[in-house]
């Protein structure tokens, strides 16, 4: 190419501009001189020859300009010139620039930080090969298509080895089906023994997921040979946090449950096969002989990969057929299968909250846009004279548009930079404030997305360009006349007015929707904070004691565990002996922190209540046929200060050898023994057949916003759980003894990890995290929106007033009273406000309905937005508030209009 000629020329044009200009004029001068000489030689007098030469060339400056164009110098030059000019204009109106930038930056910041979370949690692809083909397979007792239901939530159960083998051999929809089981093992050899959570996985697990290991390999078929070598695959977290990111880790050995395991691989940080917890290791499950008919060992969670082209719905249909057959073969302990796509399972209900937040910040961004656009437009209208002059001097429309574009580019860049800083800070604060129990998957992977930021800035740029061009178009046709008629109009142009009106309306609608949603969420949060949990939550220190299988035996449901049973009794005594402890409650699950899984209730001698067997299979029955089971120690009821309604509470005499007994709550009685005395009745639930000995008053177990559900309390002495939660009632502030208790447990058995210690008050406040975060974030967004909308409305109205000074002056001169003038200015805002309120209320209602209508609902978000709770007063007060704001915002400029002196206004020019 000829770049070696071109490049020096370009560079010269750019950097040695003076020299290039001098050369150009020298060159033309030489030409003119020659022409003059020629004319003189032909006998013209020198003066005439000079004029002739200029005439022939056709204007030295024009030729120069054309030469510059030919050199393509002008483009860069104009760009720089416009940029400088634009910056100068912005410097001249710094308030405008500041307001525009801050407005946009707020919108960009909020949007970017929320969208970056949305992207990481929802849209980032799962770290598996073809993740769309992966499904979870859950169990459900009873006929196919019938779900466990508790209140408004569907529940699924785990499976047993026999189910996995049945499904594996019979269902043809799957390429592979495997399963995992949670496994806590004691890791020794480090500084201190620690119980770590991992998974024991069935064969083909890693082949099915198909994600490459970060180091080494995943488990493979040879690892599942019975009595083979002990091997383990560890997570990135264990590798980094416990093994110091040692690159030579593959082949090293770690000790789990006092046996040596060889590390064969490290999985990457985003390898997240399950929606809860974060497994630190994976060990192969060695199949044993009786496993194929093992219908007792619950806790298996099957995962499967669909064959290419098979949908999960088709797999479900096939499962329904298989399940019906299996029920005939094993009428007493069959399990139906429910297929849930992997992404739905992993993301769960969190998208609901994120959808709400995304919607909120989008509205905020729209308000910011409207404000920004309004500022730009008023600027452009104000500068019509300037544009007219520049046009008159020969600037092309494109050139003026380009200049506006440059100004907007500068604004957008500044706003984008500010917004980026805001987004960064916001995301950090937001993620830092999430409680541990927050069930948002993949939060670790949240990054402030540069592409996203660029995208949002791009939108801003396009929007501002559109504004400028609209303004130019509106003014363009008349710009020739603008010089003459500027300011002479009686009132501002109708087009401008309509634009302003549209702006006011949209600000009204957007901010009203946000305000109403915010108020509803805050209301429900505040209401929940006042809900009485039904037990005494003050001075309760809660923590979890994990029980290593290696020292206390492997846990399985419904089996006898004498060692655990003794352990819990001893623990109770040890904790109660710590000075400051009043009494000790123990339970398998912590109230208000865990959802209690339900099990079906069978009452001997009574038909099962009809369930949703007929009709559509998916809409499971709402008839309560299940109860939650909670294992508690006998002191539980007195330590939590629960109220006895009937019979007696559990007592120490209900030991392992005594007949199995249970206490039920009032909701249980209402569901299964309405109008009857349940005391002395025997029921069959899961693997137990207890006799009911007492009824306890309902209290909140599953969530402050949930109604009481049927619950049953078994004794930890009779059915010891795998590990245990302790609630120690203290005499004073629970924080005071938070070190003494772990110490005494450590003295008893150093290998008993004490985890997740916090006060009950904290547990309760954490249980509301979703509500709190929704209320706080949407509340903040709404507050921001109101401020932005207020300033926006103010600036629009005050601009329109300043444009109508003449009109007001004439009206006053013709005898309009102050009232008339006020009415003129306020009336317009008032009309817009009324329309805006109507539209906004309607929109808020629709949005509320939309947020609650879907089937995958985060119950705690949904219930606060449920239509029946959409308090009409909230709508009325929010609307009134915004109307007041709008009127206040337009009152200031309206008063300015009142002070207009007619004589001055008429002379105003």
């Amino acid at each position: 190419m000829r770049w070696y000629y071109k490049l020096p020329l370009r560079l010269r044009s750019l950097f040695r501009k003076d020299k290039a200009e001098l050369d150009l004029s020298d060159e033309l001068q030489f030409h003119l001189q020659n022409q003059i000489d020629e004319y003189v030689a032909q006998g013209m007098d020198p003066q005439e020859a000079r004029h002739g030469a200029f005439r022939l060339l056709g204007g030295v400056e024009q030729v120069k300009e054309e030469c510059r164009d030919a050199r393509e110098v002008n483009f860069i030059d104009n760009f720089l010139q416009d940029g400088r000019f634009g910056l100068r204009m912005l410097r001249r109106s710094p308030v405008f620039a500041l307001v525009a930038c801050v407005t946009l930056a707020l919108g960009i910041g909020a949007t970017t930080s929320i969208f970056s979370v949305v992207r990481a949690v929802i849209f980032a692809p799962l770290p598996f090969r073809q993740p769309e083909n992966l499904v979870h397979v859950w169990g459900s007792e009873g006929p196919p298509g019938q779900h466990y239901r508790r209140g408004d939530q569907a529940f699924f159960s785990s499976a047993r080895p026999a189910d996995l083998y049945d499904w594996r051999t019979q269902n043809q929809s799957f390429e592979r089906i495997s399963a995992y089981r949670k496994r806590s093992m004691l890791l020794t050899g480090g500084k201190e023994a620690d119980l770590v959570d991992g998974q024991e996985v069935f064969d083909e697990f890693f082949e099915m997921l198909g994600s490459p290991a970060q180091l080494g390999r995943g488990l493979q078929a040879s690892d599942y040979e019975p009595d083979g070598a002990h091997v383990v695959v560890i997570s990135n977290r264990m590798w980094v946090q416990r093994l110091g990111s040692n690159p030579e880790v593959v082949g090293a050995r770690i000790s789990l449950d006092q046996e040596s395991y060889q590390i064969v691989g490290v999985m990457p940080a985003n390898f997240y096969p399950t929606p809860w917890g974060y497994p630190e290791f994976w060990i192969p499950h060695w199949a044993n002989q009786g496993e194929k008919s093992d219908r007792k060992s619950w806790g298996l969670i099957p995962l499967a990969r669909l064959k290419p082209g098979v949908t999960w719905e088709e797999a479900q249909i096939q499962f329904d057929v298989i399940s019906a057959r299996l029920i005939e073969d094993h009428p007493d302990d069959s399990l139906s299968a429910i297929v849930v796509p992997m992404d739905a399972q992993l993301i769960g209900s969190s998208w609901k909250l994120l959808l709400l937040l995304s919607g909120g910040v989008t509205l905020l961004l729209l308000i910011a846009f409207v404000n920004f656009a309004n500022l730009l437009l008023t600027q452009v209208f104000d500068r019509q004279t300037e544009f007219a002059i520049r046009k008159g001097l020969g600037a092309s429309r494109a050139r003026i548009a380009f200049q506006l574009f440059i100004e907007n580019l500068v604004l957008s860049l500044v706003a984008g930079t500010l917004g980026f800083g805001l987004a960064f800070a916001q995301t950090k604060v937001m993620l830092g404030n999430l409680p541990q129990s927050a069930n948002l998957p993949r939060l670790e992977t949240v990054r402030i997305d540069f592409p996203l930021l660029a995208f949002v800035c791009g939108i801003c740029l396009v929007a501002s360009m559109l504004c400028s061009f609209t303004a130019l178009k509106n003014s363009g046709d008349r710009s020739g006349l603008a010089l003459q008629i500027q300011g002479r109009g009686l009132s501002s142009g109708s087009r401008k007015r309509r634009l302003g009106q549209a702006f006011i309306m949209s600000e009204f609608v957007f901010s009203l929707v946000l305000l109403i949603l915010g108020v509803l969420l805050v209301q429900s949060f505040v209401r929940l904070r006042r809900v009485d949990p039904g037990f005494d939550a003050s001075n309760l220190l809660t923590f979890r004691v994990q029980v290593p299988a290696v020292s206390y035996g492997t846990f399985s449901y419904g089996a006898k565990h004498p060692r655990r049973e003794r352990l819990y009794e001893q623990l109770e005594r040890i904790i109660a002996a710590v000075p400051g402890v009043d009494s000790v409650a123990m339970s398998a699950l912590l109230p208000l922190r865990h959802e209690i899984n339900p099990s079906p209730v069978v009452i001997p001698g009574r038909e099962l209540p009809p369930t949703g067997r007929s009709g559509s299979a998916r809409s499971a029955s709402t008839i309560q046929t299940q109860t939650g089971i909670e294992r508690v120690n006998p002191r539980y009821f007195s330590a939590l200060r629960l109220k006895l309604v009937r019979g007696r509470f559990l007592e120490e005499r209900d030991g392992p050898e005594a007949p199995m007994v249970a206490v039920v709550n009032e909701a249980f009685v209402k569901a299964f023994f309405p109008g009857e005395n349940p005391i002395g009745k025997q029921v069959s639930v899961w693997y137990g057949k207890p006799v009911i000995v007492g009824v306890v008053a309902d209290f909140k177990l599953n969530g402050l916003d949930r109604n009481a559900l049927p619950e049953m309390f078994w004794s930890l002495r009779q059915d010891p759980w795998s590990d245990v939660w302790v609630m120690a009632r203290t005499k004073s502030d629970p924080a005071l003894i938070s070190t003494a208790i772990p110490k005494s447990i450590h003295n008893f058995d150093p290998d008993l990890p004490v985890r997740e210690m916090s006060s009950m008050a904290e547990v309760i406040s954490e249980s509301l995290w979703l509500k709190r975060i929704a209320a706080v974030l949407i509340g903040l967004v709404a507050a921001l929106a109101i401020v932005l909308a207020g300033t926006g409305i103010y600036s629009i109205v005050s601009y329109s007033v300043s444009q109508r000074t003449r009109e007001v002056g004439i009206r006053v001169a013709l005898g309009a009273t102050q009232r008339d003038v006020l009415g003129l200015i306020l009336g317009e805002t008032w009309r817009l406000a009324l329309v805006g309120c109507t539209v906004g209320c309607f929109a808020a209602f629709v949005v509320g309905r939309l947020v609650t209508s879907q089937s995958y609902i985060a119950p705690s978000v949904a219930s606060s937005l449920a239509p029946e709770k959409m308090n009409p007063l909230t709508f009325v007060f929010s609307s009134m508030f915004l109307c007041g704001l709008a009127l206040a915002a337009s009152l200031v400029p309206a008063r300015r209009a009142l002070r207009v002196d007619p004589m001055q206004a008429l002379r105003h020019e």
Partner: protein, 109 residues
Amino acid sequence: MAKPTDLVQGTLDLLVLKTLALQPMHGWGIAQRIRQVSKDVLQVNQGALYPALHRLEQQGWIRAKWGESENNRRAKYYSLTPDGAKYLRQEQAQWKRLSSAIGLVLEIS
């Protein structure tokens, strides 16, 4: 004398390049030469000449150097680059084809 023919759009470049192929020349000289060679038929629009020269230079067909003119004035001399020579040959061939084709069409009638 007939009115000098206006140059067909685009042919100015060709004429300039052809003139420069003979020897390096300044703008004034190019205009004079074209007029002389065409026996006053072709009158170069002086206003268009210089932008054309700058454009050709920008495209790398010609390059410029300052030198002394015949009457001892400082003048900007343009000369053809090798690329420009190649380009000229192409354009010339193109022009010949075009003009002979037009000639043929005009002969027929």
